[in-house]
Symmetry: D2
Subunit: 503 residues, 4 copies
């Protein structure tokens, strides 16, 4: 890779506007902390190396590890400022360098491994001490800098965003660097501690909440997009609840948001929740509230991937609701099935290619499809069906809708229950709720007839139901044995699928 | 050790539903709510083992580490409940068992060490992966439980208190278990993350703060005890500031408290700060405020020993004060010198024993002492002097006070500057401020004439001054090179000590 | 007037327990909770009389005035409930009855007047006592009920709305009842006490304020309507301030709202304030802020007409801004001129009718108008001009705009300065700011080119400038001597008007 | 009265410290508002007159009453500053002058009275207008100034304190000026509007409340004095409630404070409420809470005498408690009986003087008294009894206590039920609760055995019980018919008194 030329305006540092510098550098006294620059324009990599060498200070020795003063905050600020100015390509170079050249001292680790093996027969005090040295030696050099960054204003948010970049790089497969994976896992482990549930604050969002927060909630809502302010007002109004976790280090920033509808029965339709405004000024009647429907949950920080927040949020909200409505009996999601329609297209394509159309629908079903569509028998009918489903045209004919209901329902049941990735549910929403210990409870026909709902999942939605007494068991069963707990409705649909599809 | 008999009511406990248990735990007063148990009385250690085996779940394998659901909260609650009911002796047994039998899997570590050495010539991906496995294998089994405990209500406080117990055990030398030291360092490292500065909240305490908080501040003030509510009102009134760090996990609990006096010049006397009430209703005149005097800093949580809070609090407060008083120029402590009087008694005793009285004071000084006290020359005079200092009687004679001033001042300077422990200042307050980068700036004669001040340090107090431009350098010099930065006054006193004491 | 038939559900109502009634009133949605009543339908007026007689209790005698317990709250609640159910026509009947039959006891007043005249030569104690009795006797009977209503939840808001109804009735001239005027002035005097400035709370509205509040601010903005949420975000963002008075009795309800722009110079154009979004994420630079421009002030409660709020809000905001920006030097409104265009049409019509077209514009001006419009000379040209101005078409031709500028500016200056109603400025916005002591400072050409601005005032806006040292004097001069303080620009335009229009 | 010489440092005005002036005078721009002074030292009365003439501006005419700008705030500030500097004697002179020379324009009133009588046969519009003019003319000139003062910062508190001075003067009978009474009643009527219940804020005081507030609550507690901070902590701890009304104009100042104990049964003893600390860390068990005992209510502002706050506070608190404890069934005070012991001494003295000792106690009772005390029969025994009661010695002998119980109980019942002032209960606490509609419910023997309790009321306390359904009726019965509603216990004691005392 040829050296990249940078035009990073390090000198511009000095010209930062008054206001910014007061905020970010408050407390910086010594002029020495100010990044040096040269007007000649440095070679990018050399400039990176210089910065890294200066800011990613070596680990203290094991003996002096408690006697080392933290570097000045300006160190962290300089690192943050430098990184933020990089473009995407430069970030990759920078992070590779950081993770590879400022990681673990492998030689030190080997030496201690040897030493450890030498001490195996010694007293436990010695063994423990060598283990502790070994543990310390396995700390990447950059680990300390990350800790210091977390202490300056905006530092935690910086690290969350940094990890989002690292995740971006590792998943996009631009690089296959194992060091990058190490950096990712170091960041994840640090963030997991800082975003530990004990440090999160549950906030109920209402129409009284700051506008700024509500605007963010609107923007972050990815499941059923918020269209306007009446829409969001509805979602925090009567018969609705909206909760978020926030964190002291990132004030005003909701980390994960849960939308709940309070209903009599478990909802089988999303439009009645997000589009019905009759109740905007209603007054809640407690006796009509029997169920809590989690109809949307969104994480907002890519950099917190793998740090469990959603699971904990659902559990906290359940407690909150139980204390508000002691007699509340039913807790369930009403979830989208992203990916079903796409999977279905592939699935049908496969059958057509293999000439197994007959195995997909019963004869009676094929006959009806042919009647409604006017298509010829066999592969042609399958192709027509596939096209219909792809375009959403099927929804226009009531008869077609009736014909397709059992077919799509059993295919969808199979998709959720039978399609796996590494043994766990392929569908990510299913996987999330099943990990939490929910039950794959009910598929709902014509539950989301918005264009988006039709395009994603042929309008089908699913309830993952939380039976509070059993979530622990279910969660363990799923995670450890990869067994999905499902209701009779679902199981029966799956067995219909088996019967028809002769899998 | 004979088996201890427990009456810990474990039964029925296990079946508490996860979600309700937190609530019901809180409300448990009436016997009825307490889980019933067998009247047979379990064997203590066996009961301990059973509990530990049940609650300290084994680490998941490396492969499944991200696929393991957390145990139910009731697990953590049961552990906490059990531990809290133990008496001191039982706690020792319990913690030894926990740290020893539920720590690191040494065999697993060894195997991975061998494997690591085998891979030394392999590609870095393999090396990194083995290192990561090794790192994981060095995790004590109890580490996960501690993490889970931190997530339940009151959990973090429990762990802080647990560590206080562990520290108590290791410092009291009841045991010399290396496993206990490991437990301590695991706890410290967890608490360090959770009490990272970014997660602390700076609170200014005023007369408007909740009574509960002010009462705690009063109780925790260990340096210059708060005698009554007028006293505490004074400390949060005009020309004073009181700041504390609090933490989201321990609401209403100040972790470290700093008292500041706002003065014209750097104070040389504590009574003028804590006993003068003339200003209770004064209105601060900004132009009279030139200096910030840190006259008391107290940590409140024994279990947070070694987690740096005081240092960060001082730095945050400096920033706070700079933003309130942009022209504030001087920052200094006015600190007690605990241990000086005790050290002095020992020191004088030593000289007497060694018959070196003459080396301690100049001839002129001895003559004056003899005149004032009427004591005979030599060892007798030294003994008289020692007794006088011990009793505080010397303070009654103005002439004696005048005579002793140069003597005590130079001895005290030596005590602070010259007496060391592992190379660092023996005096803990000195060590604290020197670590922070302050300068040993000025000794003040008759600065604390309270009985306590006389008894502790013959009334002498010391200013550790913070020159903001130089704290980083000073801190590093002290911590890394063990060199104390001191003012000319102090150095001159030290050299007088050298001259007189012929050390 | 024929008797109105009511279906007001009065029965059962009466027996509500005092304490519960507030609560149950709040929850009343379901028909079940609504008091049942006879299906026969009561005669309206008789039902009114019955209610009034029951709820508007007689004044206690002078002697027992401090010994009369307040009626139960249910009394007030019943009155409020009854009134709110009335339709507009019924309200008129009801209020006439209330004001006429439950007002002052005129006979009592006369008797005391006689008695007062009898005591003229007596000691002052006697005189004062009779005066006090007389004062008491002048209290309308309904005065006490109004006081009691103010004490129940929602009562103050009820009275504000009641007064809005009364004002509606008196200004619409449906009735000319002097008793109604008395009721109005009693209500005004009560509201003036309750909404006294000391009881108002100044709130700064920001993007952090509750959504509910911002939505209301948007709805209430009558001067330059808020179009969407970006619009309102702009108005509370950088270089803008938005303040409101709120009141403990009407939580979450802004009573009067002031929008301020922070600028370098005194603004001469409204679009640059309300339509420019470049600065949405800007950071305010203090040194660029020299002027505070009040560009919109809206009262929200019709019922608080005549209760001075706007004046006090401006003064409080000036103080607030002075404390935030100690060097702020210029305070001015940028105000619309509602009514100018309408007045102008009438004015031109008048000139045409009187054949005085020639007196309106100079010959040169007429020539230009004729050239641009192609209209014939004289009345025809005037008619063309009038039509052009009415349609806003004149704005399309640059030349026309140039031609009309001096004409419209001097006419507008005259409209503001010279047109009076009872001696005070006819234009209500002018009257408001002049009463506050502002100066009629500058007319701005093409200052509001929105359709609304063109239609209302041919695009002209005006600055009323507040010279803080002189507002008291100006206010007194205006109010007492009806003299308008104006700048040279304005006076010169007025004198041009005189010269041209030969008034 | 000879002219008083003042040494009011009006010139000192200029030297007010920076901070004060910023706060109090913020917004004062014009130098003219600054009070003029002369170094010669003015004659006091002349200086007063000058100030009054300048600050108490004349009432506008009826016609211009809505067209008069308020005087600048500096006017009010000057008046307040001047008044506050006066000593007690000067204040008397000042207030007499203010009330007499700046009151109602009696001539104007007479003229309008004449005019009113002239219009008696005219149309109602005319009558109403003359009445309104008459009403306006009855406004004292100082009334407007008081209104303006209420608008400046600290103004309302100033007026409350001013009224306290006025009340002090009128009750101490230093003067008998009817004008002073007028001033008092004007102030009261203004304060009544501003402190109307709708504008009061109910605050629950807890250990989390600001220290400043709790300290004030402690100081203000007049009924059962708070001895220390544990004492006050107890009163806001479990099984206790403490509520106060506060007001936006006097932030941080509790106006009236109510202490409540939550008990199973209606308390008959105060020590168990204020001296028992066992429950300090208890957790309230809802099922044990059946009754709310109001054991102390204190008004804090002498200047708000006659403005009903206590009554409303009790009612609000009842609502608050009902919502917290829906099943709470019993509401009662546990009240002291100040004045009973003093009244008793007088009563016994009277009987002795009239030689009616025999009529006071039954023969049996006298015999017992004589036996216990060893006193001779007749007047001597009565004298001994009186002395015993005066000294509190009777409490030392159990037998004496037993003997005296029926005697003191029936005398006390009579004192509360039968002793009147202008027809209402003589005892002020009784009068307060009876006005509120409570029932004189139960006398409790040995209910307050503190020295204070013994000295005030021979240890007896009384419950005034609130039956919520009946308070309105009771209140009206008492206030209008002067009839006390009492329980059977009380009535039976009263009848025993009648039987024995042959009144």
């Amino acid at each position: 890779m040829s050296p990249i030329r940078f035009a990073i305006p390090l000198c511009a540092w000095r010209h930062l506007s008054v206001l910014r510098s007061v905020q970010s550098l408050r407390g910086r006294q010594c002029g020495g902390a100010r990044p040096r620059c040269s007007s000649t324009g440095l070679n990018g990599e050399r400039s990176m190396e210089e910065l890294l060498r200066r800011t990613v200070t070596p680990l203290p020795t094991y003996e002096t590890r408690d006697k080392s003063p933290p570097p000045p905050d300006s160190n962290s600020l300089e690192f943050m400022y430098f990184y933020r100015k990089l473009n995407k390509e430069q970030k990759l170079v920078f992070l590779e360098k950081l993770s590879k050249e400022f990681g673990v001292d492998h030689r030190g680790v080997s030496e201690l491994a040897v030493k450890l093996l030498d001490t195996q027969l010694r007293d436990s005090a010695t063994v423990l001490q060598v283990e502790d040295r070994l543990r310390y030696s396995l700390t990447p050099r950059y680990r300390h800098l990350l800790g210091h960054i977390s202490r300056v204003e905006g530092g935690v948010k910086f690290l969350v965003d940094l990890r989002a970049d690292v995740i971006g790089i590792t998943t996009s497969k631009v690089t296959d660097s194992p060091h990058m994976r190490d950096l990712n896992s170091t960041l994840k482990s640090l963030l997991s501690e800082w975003f530990s549930v004990g440090l999160l604050r549950l906030e109920r969002i209402t129409w009284q909440s700051p506008c700024e927060l509500l605007q963010k909630i609107s923007q972050y809502e990815a499941v059923h997009p918020v269209r306007n302010w009446t829409d969001i007002k509805r979602r925090v109004g009567p018969y609705r609840r909206c909760y978020a976790f926030t964190h002291a280090s990132m004030p005003g920033e909701p980390l994960v948001v849960l939308h709940v509808a309070l209903t009599q029965d478990i909802s089988d339709n999303i439009q009645s929740i997000v589009r019905e405004f009759a109740t905007l000024d209603a007054i809640e009647e407690v006796q009509k509230i029997n169920s809590a429907i989690f109809y949307s949950i969104s994480s907002t920080q890519a950099g917190l991937q793998g740090v469990e927040l959603g699971n904990y949020l659902i559990k906290r909200v359940v407690r909150e609701l139980q204390s508000e409505f002691p007699h509340m009996a039913q807790f369930s999601s009403l979830s989208p099935i992203p990916g079903f329609a796409a999977w279905l297209q592939g699935f049908l394509g496969q059958y057509r290619k293999e000439g197994r159309a007959a195995e997909l629908l019963s004869e009676q079903e094929w006959r009806e499809v042919e009647e409604v569509t006017g298509a010829a028998h066999g592969a042609a009918a399958l192709e027509t069906l596939r096209a219909l489903l792809g375009s959403g045209e099927w929804l226009r004919s009531e008869r077609m809708v009736r014909t397709l209901e059992p077919v799509l329902m059993r295919l969808c049941a199979w998709y959720l229950y039978g399609e796996k990735r590494r043994g766990y549910a392929l569908n990510p929403v299913a996987n999330f709720h099943l990990q939490n210990g929910a039950v794959l409870w009910r598929l709902n026909w014509l539950a989301d007839t918005s264009p988006r709902g039709i395009a994603n999942s042929c309008g089908i939605m699913v309830n993952y139901r939380y039976f509070l007494q059993e979530t622990s068991t279910n969660s363990a069963t799923y995670l450890q044995n990869k067994v999905i707990t499902a209701s009779e409705q679902v199981l029966s649909l799956v067995s219909q699928f088996h019967k028809n599809s002769k899998l």
